[in-house]
Amino acid sequence: MKSDPVYLDYAATTPLDRRVAEAMQACLAEGGTFANPSSIHIAGRASAELVTRARARLADLLGADPNHLIWTSGATEANNLAILGAARFRAHQGRHLVTMLTEHKAVTAPFAALEKEGFEVTWLRPDAGGLLSAEILQAAIRQDTQLVSVMHVNNETGVIQDIGQLGEICRERNVLFHTDAAQSVGKLPLVLSDLPVDLLSLTAHKFYGPQGIGALYIAARPGCHVEPLTFGGGQERGLRPGTLPVHLIEGAGVAAAIAAAQMQEDLAHVTALCAQLMRGLAGIPDLRRNGAAQDTYPGILNVSAAGVEGESLLLGLEPVCVASGSACNSSSGESSAVLRAHGLDDSLAQSAVRFSFGRMTRPADIDFALQQYQCAVQHLRSIAPIVAVSP
Protein backbone atom coordinates (compact mmCIF):
# COMPACT_ATOMS: atom_id res chain seq x y z
CA MET A 1 0.00 0.00 0.00
CA LYS A 2 1.48 3.31 -1.10
CA SER A 3 1.43 5.87 1.68
CA ASP A 4 3.62 8.72 0.42
CA PRO A 5 1.43 11.62 -0.64
CA VAL A 6 0.88 11.98 -4.37
CA TYR A 7 0.49 15.71 -4.62
CA LEU A 8 -2.02 16.82 -7.26
CA ASP A 9 -3.12 20.09 -5.68
CA TYR A 10 -0.90 22.55 -7.54
CA ALA A 11 -3.74 25.04 -7.88
CA ALA A 12 -3.71 25.38 -4.09
CA THR A 13 0.05 25.82 -3.94
CA THR A 14 3.00 24.52 -5.93
CA PRO A 15 6.11 22.92 -4.47
CA LEU A 16 9.07 25.25 -4.19
CA ASP A 17 11.45 24.89 -7.12
CA ARG A 18 14.84 23.68 -5.89
CA ARG A 19 16.58 26.62 -7.56
CA VAL A 20 14.24 29.02 -5.77
CA ALA A 21 14.97 27.37 -2.43
CA GLU A 22 18.71 27.66 -3.03
CA ALA A 23 18.43 31.37 -3.82
CA MET A 24 16.37 31.98 -0.72
CA GLN A 25 18.76 29.98 1.44
CA ALA A 26 21.60 32.16 0.19
CA CYS A 27 19.73 35.18 1.56
CA LEU A 28 19.00 33.53 4.88
CA ALA A 29 22.44 32.01 5.49
CA GLU A 30 25.10 33.75 7.55
CA GLY A 31 26.52 36.56 5.46
CA GLY A 32 23.47 36.49 3.21
CA THR A 33 21.47 39.42 1.92
CA PHE A 34 19.11 40.08 4.79
CA ALA A 35 19.27 43.79 5.59
CA ASN A 36 16.34 46.13 5.42
CA PRO A 37 16.26 47.41 1.83
CA SER A 38 15.15 50.82 3.12
CA SER A 39 18.40 51.23 5.07
CA ILE A 40 20.95 53.41 3.36
CA HIS A 41 24.04 51.53 4.58
CA ILE A 42 25.93 49.12 2.38
CA ALA A 43 24.04 46.02 3.55
CA GLY A 44 20.71 47.77 3.01
CA ARG A 45 21.76 48.84 -0.45
CA ALA A 46 22.66 45.21 -1.28
CA SER A 47 19.16 44.17 -0.27
CA ALA A 48 17.62 47.02 -2.25
CA GLU A 49 19.59 45.89 -5.28
CA LEU A 50 18.28 42.37 -4.88
CA VAL A 51 14.69 43.68 -4.58
CA THR A 52 15.16 45.74 -7.72
CA ARG A 53 16.49 42.73 -9.61
CA ALA A 54 13.56 40.57 -8.46
CA ARG A 55 11.07 43.26 -9.46
CA ALA A 56 12.68 43.41 -12.90
CA ARG A 57 12.48 39.64 -13.26
CA LEU A 58 8.80 39.64 -12.36
CA ALA A 59 8.14 42.56 -14.69
CA ASP A 60 9.90 40.66 -17.45
CA LEU A 61 7.63 37.67 -16.89
CA LEU A 62 4.58 39.95 -17.14
CA GLY A 63 5.74 42.14 -19.98
CA ALA A 64 5.33 45.12 -17.68
CA ASP A 65 7.30 48.07 -16.37
CA PRO A 66 8.96 47.17 -13.02
CA ASN A 67 7.83 50.50 -11.61
CA HIS A 68 4.23 49.38 -11.95
CA LEU A 69 4.58 46.48 -9.50
CA ILE A 70 3.80 46.66 -5.79
CA TRP A 71 4.98 43.81 -3.55
CA THR A 72 2.27 42.33 -1.33
CA SER A 73 1.98 39.27 0.89
CA GLY A 74 0.18 37.35 -1.85
CA ALA A 75 -2.79 37.44 -4.18
CA THR A 76 -5.36 37.91 -1.42
CA GLU A 77 -3.74 41.13 -0.28
CA ALA A 78 -3.21 42.24 -3.88
CA ASN A 79 -6.88 41.60 -4.65
CA ASN A 80 -7.98 43.52 -1.57
CA LEU A 81 -5.69 46.43 -2.39
CA ALA A 82 -6.87 46.52 -6.01
CA ILE A 83 -10.59 46.22 -5.34
CA LEU A 84 -11.01 48.19 -2.12
CA GLY A 85 -8.32 50.67 -3.12
CA ALA A 86 -9.62 51.39 -6.61
CA ALA A 87 -13.30 51.50 -5.62
CA ARG A 88 -12.60 53.97 -2.83
CA PHE A 89 -10.27 56.06 -5.02
CA ARG A 90 -12.97 56.45 -7.66
CA ALA A 91 -15.98 56.57 -5.34
CA HIS A 92 -16.55 60.25 -6.06
CA GLN A 93 -17.19 59.34 -9.72
CA GLY A 94 -19.60 56.49 -9.07
CA ARG A 95 -20.25 53.55 -6.79
CA HIS A 96 -21.17 50.74 -9.15
CA LEU A 97 -18.87 47.72 -9.50
CA VAL A 98 -19.01 44.49 -11.50
CA THR A 99 -17.59 41.04 -10.79
CA MET A 100 -18.48 37.37 -11.20
CA LEU A 101 -20.03 34.74 -8.96
CA THR A 102 -17.18 32.39 -9.92
CA GLU A 103 -14.38 34.54 -8.50
CA HIS A 104 -12.12 33.40 -5.67
CA LYS A 105 -13.18 34.45 -2.17
CA ALA A 106 -10.21 36.83 -2.12
CA VAL A 107 -12.21 38.80 -4.68
CA THR A 108 -15.81 38.17 -3.68
CA ALA A 109 -15.16 39.05 -0.03
CA PRO A 110 -13.74 42.55 -0.74
CA PHE A 111 -16.70 43.20 -3.06
CA ALA A 112 -19.08 42.05 -0.33
CA ALA A 113 -17.31 44.42 2.07
CA LEU A 114 -17.79 47.28 -0.40
CA GLU A 115 -21.51 46.49 -0.60
CA LYS A 116 -21.64 47.13 3.14
CA GLU A 117 -19.93 50.49 2.50
CA GLY A 118 -22.75 51.46 0.17
CA PHE A 119 -21.32 50.40 -3.19
CA GLU A 120 -23.58 48.52 -5.57
CA VAL A 121 -22.13 45.32 -7.03
CA THR A 122 -23.45 43.45 -10.07
CA TRP A 123 -22.58 39.76 -9.76
CA LEU A 124 -22.33 38.13 -13.18
CA ARG A 125 -22.98 34.46 -13.83
CA PRO A 126 -20.92 32.59 -16.46
CA ASP A 127 -22.32 30.30 -19.13
CA ALA A 128 -22.37 26.52 -18.51
CA GLY A 129 -18.73 26.32 -19.57
CA GLY A 130 -17.71 28.97 -17.03
CA LEU A 131 -17.04 31.73 -19.56
CA LEU A 132 -18.22 35.33 -19.35
CA SER A 133 -19.54 36.65 -22.65
CA ALA A 134 -18.69 40.11 -23.90
CA GLU A 135 -22.40 40.85 -24.29
CA ILE A 136 -23.16 40.12 -20.67
CA LEU A 137 -20.33 42.37 -19.51
CA GLN A 138 -21.37 45.11 -21.93
CA ALA A 139 -24.91 45.01 -20.56
CA ALA A 140 -23.73 45.14 -16.95
CA ILE A 141 -21.61 48.29 -17.31
CA ARG A 142 -23.44 51.53 -16.44
CA GLN A 143 -22.61 55.23 -16.49
CA ASP A 144 -21.53 55.04 -12.86
CA THR A 145 -19.50 51.80 -13.11
CA GLN A 146 -15.94 52.28 -11.85
CA LEU A 147 -14.39 48.83 -11.65
CA VAL A 148 -14.80 45.39 -13.23
CA SER A 149 -12.97 42.38 -11.81
CA VAL A 150 -12.81 39.09 -13.73
CA MET A 151 -10.23 36.43 -12.93
CA HIS A 152 -7.94 35.16 -15.69
CA VAL A 153 -7.84 31.42 -14.92
CA ASN A 154 -10.45 30.00 -12.58
CA ASN A 155 -8.86 28.25 -9.61
CA GLU A 156 -11.47 25.48 -9.48
CA THR A 157 -12.08 24.68 -13.14
CA GLY A 158 -9.09 26.15 -14.99
CA VAL A 159 -11.41 28.08 -17.33
CA ILE A 160 -9.55 30.92 -19.05
CA GLN A 161 -11.46 34.18 -19.50
CA ASP A 162 -10.64 36.35 -22.51
CA ILE A 163 -9.22 39.21 -20.46
CA GLY A 164 -8.11 41.02 -23.62
CA GLN A 165 -11.65 41.27 -24.91
CA LEU A 166 -13.22 41.97 -21.51
CA GLY A 167 -10.58 44.58 -20.68
CA GLU A 168 -11.14 46.29 -24.02
CA ILE A 169 -14.83 46.68 -23.24
CA CYS A 170 -13.92 48.30 -19.93
CA ARG A 171 -11.37 50.59 -21.52
CA GLU A 172 -13.91 51.81 -24.09
CA ARG A 173 -16.25 52.71 -21.23
CA ASN A 174 -13.51 54.26 -19.07
CA VAL A 175 -13.96 51.59 -16.39
CA LEU A 176 -10.98 50.10 -14.54
CA PHE A 177 -10.37 46.41 -15.28
CA HIS A 178 -8.83 44.19 -12.61
CA THR A 179 -7.92 40.54 -13.02
CA ASP A 180 -6.93 38.01 -10.40
CA ALA A 181 -4.18 36.18 -12.27
CA ALA A 182 -3.00 33.99 -9.40
CA GLN A 183 -3.52 30.84 -11.47
CA SER A 184 -2.08 32.10 -14.75
CA VAL A 185 1.04 34.12 -13.97
CA GLY A 186 4.11 32.03 -14.73
CA LYS A 187 2.00 29.43 -16.52
CA LEU A 188 0.45 31.23 -19.48
CA PRO A 189 2.05 33.97 -21.57
CA LEU A 190 1.02 37.47 -20.47
CA VAL A 191 2.21 40.74 -21.99
CA LEU A 192 0.66 43.45 -19.88
CA SER A 193 2.03 46.25 -22.03
CA ASP A 194 -0.24 44.92 -24.81
CA LEU A 195 -3.27 44.04 -22.69
CA PRO A 196 -6.06 46.39 -21.56
CA VAL A 197 -5.55 45.39 -17.93
CA ASP A 198 -5.34 48.12 -15.29
CA LEU A 199 -4.82 46.04 -12.18
CA LEU A 200 -3.50 42.49 -11.90
CA SER A 201 -2.97 40.36 -8.79
CA LEU A 202 -0.50 37.51 -8.49
CA THR A 203 1.22 35.32 -5.96
CA ALA A 204 4.57 33.55 -6.19
CA HIS A 205 3.54 30.27 -4.57
CA LYS A 206 1.42 29.31 -7.57
CA PHE A 207 4.47 29.29 -9.85
CA TYR A 208 6.99 27.43 -7.69
CA GLY A 209 7.97 30.44 -5.60
CA PRO A 210 7.59 30.86 -1.85
CA GLN A 211 4.34 31.40 0.05
CA GLY A 212 3.90 34.86 1.56
CA ILE A 213 4.89 37.04 -1.37
CA GLY A 214 2.83 38.40 -4.25
CA ALA A 215 2.36 41.57 -6.19
CA LEU A 216 -0.16 43.98 -7.60
CA TYR A 217 0.38 45.46 -11.05
CA ILE A 218 -1.02 48.97 -11.41
CA ALA A 219 -1.05 50.38 -14.94
CA ALA A 220 0.18 53.93 -15.39
CA ARG A 221 -2.80 55.61 -16.95
CA PRO A 222 -5.16 58.38 -15.91
CA GLY A 223 -7.69 57.40 -13.28
CA CYS A 224 -5.90 54.15 -12.47
CA HIS A 225 -4.84 54.36 -8.87
CA VAL A 226 -5.60 52.70 -5.56
CA GLU A 227 -5.94 54.10 -2.07
CA PRO A 228 -3.68 52.30 0.44
CA LEU A 229 -5.28 49.98 2.96
CA THR A 230 -2.45 50.19 5.49
CA PHE A 231 -0.22 53.03 6.61
CA GLY A 232 3.35 53.14 7.78
CA GLY A 233 6.85 53.71 6.47
CA GLY A 234 6.02 54.63 2.90
CA GLN A 235 7.48 51.57 1.19
CA GLU A 236 6.09 50.60 -2.21
CA ARG A 237 5.15 54.19 -3.01
CA GLY A 238 3.12 54.34 0.19
CA LEU A 239 0.61 51.89 -1.24
CA ARG A 240 1.87 48.92 0.75
CA PRO A 241 4.04 50.04 3.63
CA GLY A 242 6.09 47.59 5.67
CA THR A 243 9.62 46.20 5.60
CA LEU A 244 10.12 44.19 2.44
CA PRO A 245 10.82 40.46 3.00
CA VAL A 246 14.05 40.19 1.05
CA HIS A 247 14.35 36.39 0.93
CA LEU A 248 10.75 35.99 -0.23
CA ILE A 249 11.18 38.65 -2.89
CA GLU A 250 14.38 36.96 -4.05
CA GLY A 251 12.44 33.68 -4.27
CA ALA A 252 9.65 35.33 -6.25
CA GLY A 253 12.15 36.87 -8.63
CA VAL A 254 13.99 33.61 -9.26
CA ALA A 255 10.69 31.75 -9.69
CA ALA A 256 9.59 34.38 -12.21
CA ALA A 257 12.84 34.06 -14.16
CA ILE A 258 12.54 30.26 -14.26
CA ALA A 259 8.87 30.47 -15.29
CA ALA A 260 9.72 32.87 -18.10
CA ALA A 261 12.53 30.63 -19.34
CA GLN A 262 10.63 27.33 -19.30
CA MET A 263 6.99 28.32 -19.75
CA GLN A 264 6.56 26.46 -23.03
CA GLU A 265 8.21 23.37 -21.58
CA ASP A 266 5.99 23.52 -18.47
CA LEU A 267 2.90 24.04 -20.59
CA ALA A 268 3.72 21.10 -22.85
CA HIS A 269 4.30 18.94 -19.75
CA VAL A 270 0.93 19.73 -18.12
CA THR A 271 -0.84 19.38 -21.46
CA ALA A 272 0.51 15.83 -21.79
CA LEU A 273 -0.42 15.00 -18.18
CA CYS A 274 -3.92 16.37 -18.71
CA ALA A 275 -4.38 14.24 -21.82
CA GLN A 276 -3.19 11.19 -19.88
CA LEU A 277 -5.63 11.92 -17.07
CA MET A 278 -8.53 12.49 -19.44
CA ARG A 279 -7.83 9.24 -21.30
CA GLY A 280 -7.94 7.35 -18.01
CA LEU A 281 -11.10 9.05 -16.81
CA ALA A 282 -12.89 8.42 -20.10
CA GLY A 283 -13.59 4.84 -19.04
CA ILE A 284 -15.58 5.87 -15.95
CA PRO A 285 -19.33 6.14 -16.60
CA ASP A 286 -21.43 9.15 -15.54
CA LEU A 287 -18.48 11.47 -15.18
CA ARG A 288 -18.74 15.15 -16.02
CA ARG A 289 -15.93 17.57 -16.71
CA ASN A 290 -16.62 20.91 -15.05
CA GLY A 291 -15.66 23.91 -17.14
CA ALA A 292 -15.30 24.42 -20.84
CA ALA A 293 -13.39 21.72 -22.71
CA GLN A 294 -11.58 24.43 -24.66
CA ASP A 295 -10.38 27.69 -23.08
CA THR A 296 -9.06 25.81 -20.06
CA TYR A 297 -5.62 25.81 -18.51
CA PRO A 298 -4.44 22.18 -18.88
CA GLY A 299 -2.88 22.04 -15.41
CA ILE A 300 -6.36 21.92 -13.82
CA LEU A 301 -8.99 19.26 -14.45
CA ASN A 302 -12.23 19.31 -12.47
CA VAL A 303 -14.62 16.36 -12.68
CA SER A 304 -17.81 15.28 -10.94
CA ALA A 305 -18.88 11.67 -10.53
CA ALA A 306 -22.62 11.17 -10.26
CA GLY A 307 -23.71 9.19 -7.22
CA VAL A 308 -20.55 9.77 -5.20
CA GLU A 309 -20.23 11.77 -1.99
CA GLY A 310 -17.32 14.20 -2.06
CA GLU A 311 -15.86 13.80 1.42
CA SER A 312 -15.86 10.03 1.18
CA LEU A 313 -14.30 10.28 -2.26
CA LEU A 314 -11.44 12.34 -0.85
CA LEU A 315 -10.79 9.79 1.88
CA GLY A 316 -11.02 6.97 -0.65
CA LEU A 317 -8.45 8.74 -2.82
CA GLU A 318 -5.78 8.88 -0.11
CA PRO A 319 -2.80 9.25 -0.39
CA VAL A 320 -3.61 11.26 -3.49
CA CYS A 321 -3.90 14.93 -2.52
CA VAL A 322 -6.59 16.75 -4.52
CA ALA A 323 -9.18 19.41 -3.79
CA SER A 324 -12.86 18.70 -3.37
CA GLY A 325 -15.97 20.57 -4.44
CA SER A 326 -17.33 20.37 -0.96
CA ALA A 327 -16.43 22.13 2.23
CA CYS A 328 -15.45 18.91 3.98
CA ASN A 329 -15.95 18.75 7.70
CA SER A 330 -17.30 22.23 7.85
CA SER A 331 -20.52 22.70 9.72
CA SER A 332 -22.15 24.08 6.58
CA GLY A 333 -21.14 21.20 4.31
CA GLU A 334 -21.87 23.53 1.41
CA SER A 335 -20.85 22.62 -2.08
CA SER A 336 -18.67 24.90 -4.21
CA ALA A 337 -20.35 28.19 -5.07
CA VAL A 338 -18.26 28.32 -8.25
CA LEU A 339 -19.55 24.99 -9.50
CA ARG A 340 -23.13 25.84 -8.55
CA ALA A 341 -22.73 29.04 -10.59
CA HIS A 342 -21.77 26.77 -13.50
CA GLY A 343 -25.22 25.24 -13.19
CA LEU A 344 -24.30 22.06 -11.31
CA ASP A 345 -26.77 20.80 -8.73
CA ASP A 346 -25.59 20.41 -5.14
CA SER A 347 -24.99 16.70 -5.47
CA LEU A 348 -22.74 16.97 -8.53
CA ALA A 349 -20.92 20.03 -7.19
CA GLN A 350 -20.32 18.19 -3.96
CA SER A 351 -18.81 15.19 -5.76
CA ALA A 352 -16.36 17.36 -7.71
CA VAL A 353 -12.65 16.70 -7.51
CA ARG A 354 -10.02 19.09 -8.80
CA PHE A 355 -6.85 17.48 -10.07
CA SER A 356 -4.11 20.09 -10.54
CA PHE A 357 -0.56 19.31 -11.48
CA GLY A 358 2.61 20.90 -12.77
CA ARG A 359 6.34 20.92 -13.26
CA MET A 360 7.21 18.18 -10.75
CA THR A 361 4.29 15.83 -11.51
CA ARG A 362 5.28 12.55 -13.16
CA PRO A 363 3.14 10.40 -15.46
CA ALA A 364 3.33 7.68 -12.77
CA ASP A 365 1.60 10.06 -10.34
CA ILE A 366 -1.28 10.47 -12.77
CA ASP A 367 -1.51 6.69 -13.27
CA PHE A 368 -1.66 6.13 -9.52
CA ALA A 369 -4.28 8.86 -9.05
CA LEU A 370 -6.39 7.35 -11.83
CA GLN A 371 -6.22 3.93 -10.22
CA GLN A 372 -7.25 5.33 -6.83
CA TYR A 373 -10.02 7.45 -8.33
CA GLN A 374 -11.48 4.55 -10.33
CA CYS A 375 -11.47 2.29 -7.25
CA ALA A 376 -12.97 4.93 -4.94
CA VAL A 377 -15.75 5.90 -7.36
CA GLN A 378 -16.60 2.27 -8.07
CA HIS A 379 -16.66 1.37 -4.37
CA LEU A 380 -18.75 4.36 -3.28
CA ARG A 381 -21.24 3.78 -6.07
CA SER A 382 -21.45 0.10 -5.13
CA ILE A 383 -22.49 0.90 -1.55
CA ALA A 384 -24.89 3.74 -2.40
CA PRO A 385 -28.65 3.20 -2.11
CA ILE A 386 -30.01 1.82 -5.37
CA VAL A 387 -33.47 3.34 -5.10
CA ALA A 388 -34.14 7.05 -4.85
CA VAL A 389 -34.73 8.08 -1.24
CA SER A 390 -36.64 11.25 -0.48
CA PRO A 391 -35.92 13.30 2.62
Binding site: L315, S347, S382, I383, A384, V389
Partner: protein, 124 residues
Amino acid sequence: MSPIEPYNKTVREYFSHTSHAGDLSRDYAQVRDSAVAESVQGAKIALTVGIEGAIVIEMRFRVWGCPHLIAAAEWLCERQESKPAAALADFPLAEIMRQLSVPVEKTGRILLLEDALKLLVAQD
Protein backbone atom coordinates in the same frame (compact mmCIF):
# COMPACT_ATOMS: atom_id res chain seq x y z
CA MET B 1 -10.80 14.71 15.84
CA SER B 2 -8.80 17.76 14.95
CA PRO B 3 -9.07 19.39 11.54
CA ILE B 4 -5.56 18.03 10.91
CA GLU B 5 -6.72 14.41 11.33
CA PRO B 6 -10.48 14.37 10.85
CA TYR B 7 -10.89 10.58 11.07
CA ASN B 8 -9.79 8.31 13.87
CA LYS B 9 -8.43 4.80 13.38
CA THR B 10 -11.85 3.19 13.87
CA VAL B 11 -13.44 5.36 11.19
CA ARG B 12 -10.65 4.56 8.77
CA GLU B 13 -10.93 0.85 9.56
CA TYR B 14 -14.72 0.64 9.10
CA PHE B 15 -14.68 2.98 6.08
CA SER B 16 -12.10 0.80 4.35
CA HIS B 17 -13.71 -2.54 5.18
CA THR B 18 -17.41 -2.27 4.52
CA SER B 19 -18.18 -5.99 4.66
CA HIS B 20 -21.81 -5.21 5.61
CA ALA B 21 -22.46 -2.95 2.62
CA GLY B 22 -24.80 -4.28 -0.02
CA ASP B 23 -27.69 -6.71 0.04
CA LEU B 24 -28.67 -9.79 2.06
CA SER B 25 -26.88 -12.94 0.96
CA ARG B 26 -29.97 -15.18 1.08
CA ASP B 27 -33.68 -15.35 1.89
CA TYR B 28 -34.85 -15.19 5.51
CA ALA B 29 -38.08 -15.99 7.31
CA GLN B 30 -38.48 -12.29 7.91
CA VAL B 31 -36.88 -9.45 5.98
CA ARG B 32 -37.29 -5.83 6.99
CA ASP B 33 -35.94 -2.80 5.16
CA SER B 34 -35.93 0.95 5.51
CA ALA B 35 -34.57 3.98 3.73
CA VAL B 36 -34.19 7.57 4.91
CA ALA B 37 -32.56 10.73 3.62
CA GLU B 38 -31.41 14.02 5.05
CA SER B 39 -32.67 17.15 3.35
CA VAL B 40 -29.81 19.55 4.15
CA GLN B 41 -26.71 17.73 2.93
CA GLY B 42 -28.43 14.95 1.04
CA ALA B 43 -27.08 11.97 3.00
CA LYS B 44 -29.06 8.77 2.39
CA ILE B 45 -29.11 5.44 4.16
CA ALA B 46 -30.90 2.17 3.51
CA LEU B 47 -30.91 -0.76 5.96
CA THR B 48 -32.00 -4.37 5.42
CA VAL B 49 -32.19 -7.09 8.06
CA GLY B 50 -32.72 -10.81 7.71
CA ILE B 51 -34.37 -12.30 10.82
CA GLU B 52 -34.79 -15.92 11.88
CA GLY B 53 -36.51 -16.82 15.16
CA ALA B 54 -36.50 -13.20 16.38
CA ILE B 55 -32.72 -13.01 15.94
CA VAL B 56 -30.99 -10.70 13.46
CA ILE B 57 -28.93 -13.08 11.36
CA GLU B 58 -27.75 -10.65 8.74
CA MET B 59 -27.85 -6.85 8.52
CA ARG B 60 -26.80 -4.84 5.49
CA PHE B 61 -26.61 -1.17 4.64
CA ARG B 62 -26.27 1.15 1.70
CA VAL B 63 -25.09 4.73 2.25
CA TRP B 64 -24.51 7.90 0.32
CA GLY B 65 -22.73 10.06 2.83
CA CYS B 66 -19.56 11.10 4.58
CA PRO B 67 -16.92 8.71 5.97
CA HIS B 68 -18.32 8.98 9.49
CA LEU B 69 -21.78 7.89 8.33
CA ILE B 70 -20.38 4.98 6.30
CA ALA B 71 -18.25 3.87 9.25
CA ALA B 72 -21.18 4.23 11.65
CA ALA B 73 -23.41 2.11 9.40
CA GLU B 74 -20.78 -0.62 9.17
CA TRP B 75 -20.16 -0.51 12.93
CA LEU B 76 -23.89 -0.73 13.67
CA CYS B 77 -24.56 -3.62 11.29
CA GLU B 78 -21.63 -5.60 12.67
CA ARG B 79 -22.87 -5.06 16.20
CA GLN B 80 -26.53 -5.92 15.56
CA GLU B 81 -25.96 -9.31 13.98
CA SER B 82 -26.70 -12.32 16.22
CA LYS B 83 -28.69 -10.09 18.59
CA PRO B 84 -32.45 -10.22 19.23
CA ALA B 85 -34.48 -8.20 16.73
CA ALA B 86 -35.91 -6.29 19.69
CA ALA B 87 -32.45 -4.77 20.24
CA LEU B 88 -32.87 -2.81 17.01
CA ALA B 89 -34.84 -0.34 19.09
CA ASP B 90 -31.75 0.60 21.09
CA PHE B 91 -29.70 3.08 19.12
CA PRO B 92 -26.30 3.58 20.78
CA LEU B 93 -25.78 7.21 19.72
CA ALA B 94 -23.37 8.11 22.50
CA GLU B 95 -21.22 5.06 21.85
CA ILE B 96 -21.06 5.71 18.12
CA MET B 97 -20.13 9.36 18.68
CA ARG B 98 -17.39 8.29 21.09
CA GLN B 99 -16.02 5.27 19.22
CA LEU B 100 -15.87 7.13 15.92
CA SER B 101 -14.99 10.56 17.37
CA VAL B 102 -17.81 12.06 15.33
CA PRO B 103 -17.65 15.86 15.14
CA VAL B 104 -20.66 17.38 16.85
CA GLU B 105 -21.82 19.09 13.65
CA LYS B 106 -22.30 15.65 12.11
CA THR B 107 -24.68 14.45 14.83
CA GLY B 108 -27.65 15.00 12.53
CA ARG B 109 -26.17 12.70 9.92
CA ILE B 110 -25.56 9.94 12.49
CA LEU B 111 -29.12 10.31 13.75
CA LEU B 112 -30.22 9.33 10.25
CA LEU B 113 -29.24 5.81 11.27
CA GLU B 114 -31.62 5.98 14.20
CA ASP B 115 -34.42 7.06 11.89
CA ALA B 116 -33.70 4.07 9.65
CA LEU B 117 -33.65 1.73 12.68
CA LYS B 118 -36.99 3.08 13.90
CA LEU B 119 -38.55 2.24 10.55
CA LEU B 120 -37.22 -1.31 10.90
CA VAL B 121 -38.64 -1.63 14.41
CA ALA B 122 -42.01 -0.34 13.21
CA GLN B 123 -42.24 -3.34 10.88
CA ASP B 124 -42.31 -5.76 13.83
